[in-house]
Amino acid sequence: MADRHRVADCSRRLDRRNLLATIGAAGSAGFAGCGGQGATEPSESAESDDDGDLFPLSVRLETGGTDERIRMVELIAESLQQTGYFETEVETYEWSAYLDRVINPAYQDNGYLPSIGLSGTFNPHSFCNAIHNSANIGACCNLGGIADPELDELLDSARYGIEVVEDSRLRAETYDEIWRTLAEERYTSFTHFGVETAVTTADVHGFAVWPFPEGVLGYGLFSPQDEQVAWIDRERPAGDSDLADLTSGGTLTAAVSTNPDSFDPPHSSDTTSTVVQNLLFEGLVANDVEGNVYPWLAERYELRDVRDVDRTAYEGYMRSVGTTAEGAVDVDEQVIVRHPEDDPTADDEVRVLLPDDAREAAADGTYGMWFRYELREGVEFHDGSELTAEDVVASYGYYENSTTAPQTFDSVLAVVAVDEYVVDVYAQVPDAEAERELPGVYVLSADQIADVEKGSIDPREGVTPVGTGPFEFVEFADEEYLEVSRFDDYWVGKRGVAEAFEWFDGPDAFPDGPLVDAVEVEVVPDDATRAGALRSGEVDLTYDVASATLDEFADDDGFLVHAVASGGYDYLQYPVNVEPWDDPRLREAVNHLIPRQRIVDNVLNGWAEPAWTPIPRIARGAGTADYEALETAVRPLNEYDVERAEELLEEMAGEYDESS
């Protein structure tokens, strides 16, 4: 026990670790929890040898990915180590190796503490289900092997079922119950929520960043739902930019870190692809920065019916198909629904619902939800053809068997054209997220879809992508640059924004489309080079910048750093089925030793928010009935509190002695 270092002096306790010395500008920020509680003298019994063999407990923390996450885990390890109750060890892995390692059903048996970061959505489900539902053990991302039937049921009931669809208050309250359960059980320690950032030169006026990376260009350039529009004015520097001073024209040059995999929306899932597709294509609806849904290509939409069904309701429409040795379903068509009782990795045959049968089921009235979208008339694609219901139906069909098909056909049952401008979209089960999830495809041109092979809507395949969006494709050189220019016949521009959108109540000065003439996107993978290109003025905008570099730009008058709370979150999970982590007191103690504020201040230089509750700002709309009440109840459980942690550990040590 000689190597226990218990330091009573507060400043030394927090400062002695060399990793803090590397933290940079914000290193002098205050340390949360230091002072009263943090400086308590070690209790007597912890110092003595009679606390049995349980402590010091060996803890192995594992992580991968960004330097920031690694430093965060090192900080947590150090915080645990300093109590004297833990012998910590941090193991780091290269990112894809780490994913392979932790996304494995057997990983939880190691008893290690994994930590990863995920990106969430407006859907509160993305902050609880993926990481706690027992269905996601060995998948993304229940790494701790949490299998709590009551919690599983609670998670399902918050999103699915006729009750929460019809009663959003009930839904919010169910989520509140989930957050409270999670805070009490402490299967997981959420450390912080991310901030989406972008840096522009002072030539870019009125820019704002979208909470998710895929909207970083399209949203900032033109989004009437938030009265958001950006323009370029190289004469006067941006600052208090006002719509009265807007100027039209100019080319915005943006630097992105990766090459777009494809311009074909369903056949790519990387961020850059979605960023560029966002300029060219549009959906039936659009979201504002809080996740509210606005009709977009659809002039209006309504929920016509909800039926109390689950996925077994389609049994009568399903057919049996074989499975391959690898455990894949052996069928060429898109599997819309797989029978919940069948498992392709175990069974030789599984029952599946295929697209034609799904349409039949919907026509017979077997569906979870029925939405009707009425399209606008006179919306033109870049090739001059007019948008009709046929394009929408073909687009959904084009998403079948694509890279993004799992997300789409997680909820979509069938899509049917009613007449030239009316489309019905059916959901598989009553789903409280359906209003956002179901219309989550880009509307492509049916003519183009008919002409090309799946996945080849891409200039590299000799196909020019055609959408209805505010910009049209000009030129692309693989791994070098992309150019798009403002689409002259953009439907919003032709009508005027106030005319186009019934819901628009912004100022008269708000323009009828994007103000920049063209957007150039340069692919610059190296972080330092990308920051350099922005600094030298060769590009006007970039994102994906490390937090230390953000500080430099924030201090420079020639640049603006735009930030908004995002859906990204980092968490640490406990191997709840391995002793002694099955003891909730141990998890509670470790959770109290996670220095959330310090992680945000020192590791992330303030470019994040501490996770006092498991729900970030952007998901609060649907995810809580009363955020203040939730925070009051839950935050104390997540505060840095060495005294409480030591009390719990002491209690455990005492019990351990008695029993042994």
Partner: protein, 318 residues
């Protein structure tokens, strides 16, 4: 042995080399944990195990490694380097588009290295022990020691950000043969050539100092030949043998170094492609670029062997 037979024999020896390189690379690649399927779908809660298996089958990533290797090899033997997994695009097209960029950058780097190293080496040798010699040795030592990613960033910092003489990004819209390209080549070319220039300077100086102390040099001087002729005609030619040996090794270094330099300067060549391919676990791209690199190194060694004989008639082709 005749030159023709020599060439033929060397050409044949390329086959086992490439076979070995490909087998080792393939093996190492598969020993590294992480594959493109898990990268693509690992963080997507909506992708089921069944869908993952389907992807793996479609991309030929199922089955034991040796079988995957044999499948890959049999395709390569008929000239098919396969497709990029994520995008389905032909790998050979990617390599052909990137290759000229790397060759141009490499040639420029080499030219720069030789243009600096030969005069510097000669100067240092002729002025052995004097200030110029010491200075060139110190510079050469620093040149070898400075990592090229660091040098690249410093050059960008000084010439692009402080002085504003060069742009940070290369001219993506200019064709490679455009005269303007030369200007953009300067910073990456200097970065890539510096270490090579430093090594060559050191080796040339040592060899030259040795040659200048040889009896034939004394004899030449005694015959009253101008110092110019002695140095450039007699001593230099004999010193170049060791430079040629080094040059072949350095070619490998330049090819490998271009990986870093291309990334720093955003140069769209094989090197930056290689980094991204490794990152994304694009096995076919990595294998193809490895083979191209191996071929380049083999050719460089072969040229060195031919040059030996040209420089020194005592060396034969065997």
């Amino acid at each position: 042995m005749s030159l023709r037979r020599f060439v033929l024999r060397r050409a044949l020896s390329v086959v086992p080399v490439l076979f070995g390189v490909s087998a080792i690379t393939f093996g190492l690649f598969h020993l590294t944990p992480g594959d493109p399927v898990s990268q693509l779908v690992a963080l997507n809660p909506d992708v089921s195990a069944a869908e993952e298996a389907r992807l793996r089958e479609r991309w030929g990533l199922s089955g034991p490694v040796w079988r995957q290797y044999l499948a890959w090899l049999s395709n390569v033997l008929v000239g098919d380097f396969g497709r990029e997994l994520r995008t389905g695009r032909a790998v050979s097209a990617i390599v052909w588009r990137r290759l000229p960029e790397t060759v141009v950058l490499g040639l420029f780097g080499w030219t720069f290295a030789i243009a600096i190293a030969i005069p510097a080496g000669i100067y240092a040798a002729v002025h052995e022990g004097r200030l110029g010699d010491v200075a060139s040795r110190v510079l050469a030592l620093s040149g070898v020691s400075v990592p090229n990613f660091w040098l690249g960033l410093v050059l960008i910092l000084v010439f692009s950000l402080y002085l504003g003489v060069f742009p940070v990004l290369p001219p993506s819209r200019l064709p490679l043969y455009h005269p303007e390209t030369l200007r953009y080549l300067l910073l990456p070319g200097v970065t890539i050539g510096t270490a090579a220039a430093a090594s060559v300077t050191r080796v040339l100086r040592t060899a030259m100092v040795e040659e200048l102390n040889e009896e034939y040099v004394t004899a030449a001087r005694a015959r009253g030949l101008p110092e110019r002729t002695v140095v450039f005609k007699h001593a230099l030619r004999n010193s170049l043998v060791s430079v040629v040996t080094l040059a072949a090794t350095l070619t490998a270094g330049i090819v490998a170094g271009s990986v870093v330099v291309e990334s720093v300067f955003n140069w769209p060549g094989l090197g930056s492609e290689f980094v991204q391919a490794i990152d994304r676990r694009e096995v076919n791209v990595v294998m193809a670029i490895t083979l191209v690199t191996a071929v380049a190194v083999v050719i460089a060694n072969f040229l060195a062997d031919v040059l030996y004989a040209a420089l020194d008639p005592r060396i034969g082709y065997d």
